[in-house]
Symmetry: C2
Subunit: 317 residues, 2 copies
């Protein structure tokens, strides 16, 4: 295990960096990659990000101009916010077994890299990168902005249970570089498209409750998605919607895919182990947040199967 200082020493000693981000890239992996690349270039190194085909418009501005050209000669491979090689995007699979340094905060990190700088107590990988930036003398407005994106997105803007004193200390340091965090907050946490708001309005009026009100179900059949004309981005992170209903501790979000499959996201309180529920349907995840996919079933049957599984798993506990 490398400390942030040791990771900084390693980064100062090498060159020709290729930086890997995980599939379905979020603000933490992209913010960290953007910041790390700028730090290394600031030190006069060659550095670039391996292209990630799944980057959304939300995060594209923070990694703009940093992608490696096709003929990039990688000497040193660093991954950020990646827990295991299973989470590599397709075009990163060639680097399996060849990562020199992994910087990450996932408790389940598989230590797949030659050197690992992994701190599971950090809410965001961005907190570790902030320490590394300080060690490198590279904490400035250019690196602090993507790091703020990393830290704020992985904590829901400092509201999730993973926030610690260190998270706020890091945010204070990032602000001290003079960054303007306001457009970031406005864009990432305080802006919703009219379609998204219409969708939320509809879903909130159609919530269904079971098990004495403790289980809430949010349903997005294809017909509704088409009626409202919503995109995948409009439906991003909808699992949080049901979880906020007072008195519930079990929120099932059912999204129908174009092929008729139902993608299920389950969010639970301490009473129900979400991993156990989703494992019954071949899925998995964390204790409080898991997912699975159900096939060849009607909407009613999917709903019934999941509600029953939640009740049974709660009963077994």
């Amino acid at each position: 295990m490398l400390t942030p200082k040791e990771a900084a020493d390693f980064l100062r000693a090498h060159d020709g960096y290729l930086i890997l981000t995980h599939k379905s890239p979020d603000g933490d992996t992209l913010g960290c990659a953007g910041a790390l690349c700028r730090m290394l270039r600031g030190l006069g190194k060659r550095a670039a990000l391996l292209r990630n085909a799944e980057v959304t418009q939300t995060y594209a501005p923070y990694v703009d101009g940093l992608w490696a050209p096709d003929d990039y000669a990688a000497e040193t491979v660093v991954s950020v916010d990646i827990a295991s090689e299973n989470l590599f995007p397709k075009n990163a699979e060639a680097y399996a077994g060849r990562v020199d340094l992994s910087i990450d905060h996932h408790p389940g990190n598989s230590n797949f890299a030659r050197l690992n700088c992994v701190y599971p107590e950090r809410a965001a990988c961005g907190e570790i990168l902030c320490e590394i930036a300080e060690e490198l003398g590279m904490l400035n407005a250019e690196t602090a902005l993507p790091l703020y994106v990393a830290v704020s997105t992985d904590t829901g803007c400092f509201v999730y249970s993973n926030v610690t004193a260190n998270t706020h200390r890091v945010a204070a340091k990032l602000f001290e570089t003079g960054i303007d965090y306001r457009p970031v907050n406005k864009r990432l946490f305080r802006t919703k498209t009219k379609k998204r708001l219409a969708l939320e309005g509809h879903l909130l009026s159609e919530l269904e409750f079971f098990d004495g009100g403790r289980i809430v179900v949010v349903q997005l059949p294809l017909a509704l998605q088409r009626e409202l004309g919503v995109t995948e981005e409009d439906m991003d992170d909808l699992a949080a919607l049901g979880g906020q209903v007072e008195g519930t501790d079990c929120s099932i979000t059912m999204k129908e895919r174009a092929n008729g499959e139902w993608k299920i996201s389950l969010r639970t309180g301490p009473r129900v182990n979400a991993t156990q529920v989703c494992a019954r349907f071949g899925g998995g995840g964390h204790r409080a947040a898991s997912g699975c996919t159900l096939r060849d079933m009607t909407q009613e049957d999917v709903k019934r199967a999941l509600v029953e599984a939640c009740i049974e798993v709660a009963g077994d506990a």
Copy 2:
């Protein structure tokens, strides 16, 4: 103007404290009052809060057991988060002209008190109270929890534009006392009643747009409030709802009161000075968040007057 250190010296030198909070009390005024009372009692002083009839269930736990009995002998009167004597609750009007120390962060503070410790650059009055607590050696888990309520509520949990490096530094210090902020965040920022969600669902489907989509209006006539059976608490902080619509930078929330008055909350981006708009109707507040009350006008006229004022103030800038 008193510094936090001078305010701490004053507090150490006196006794028999009565602490005033503002009408329609929020997390900042109540959190500050709760923390200040506990600090003073911790120093062996007599201290209590003047009863505030409008305290909601949301914030009641943070001021529980601190209310002054009817025969309380006040020697020293301190107000927290109160910008002017107009904002005193009814039962505090007897203390107009008799406040010894005002601790506040509103730019428009009228300096109504004998001594004023006012820092408009602070996002929450709780930030100033945190400095005072440190000066008094009274920053501990008991005082830090209500201060966290103060700072987090006035910043929407660190998402609003008023957040500064100091806000995050204060949050880190509060966390370091060992408080458990998780139930606070869950309760204040991640839980909504079923009625609240139904209300939001309804309002989101009924948004009205003006000025090429830059102004959004959210309307809560009494008839709607009665139809949905919502309480004052269900309608708390609805001003944030309209402000999140993509492409808008001016959100007007109109709430009809039982007496037919319209309570207006205005949230604006840099283009429109909310204070200037609300000042036209005898109200005030901050540049990005102000309020006012309109009387003897129809819903349509209230809406038109406010939309026009926003357009004119933007034009004058």
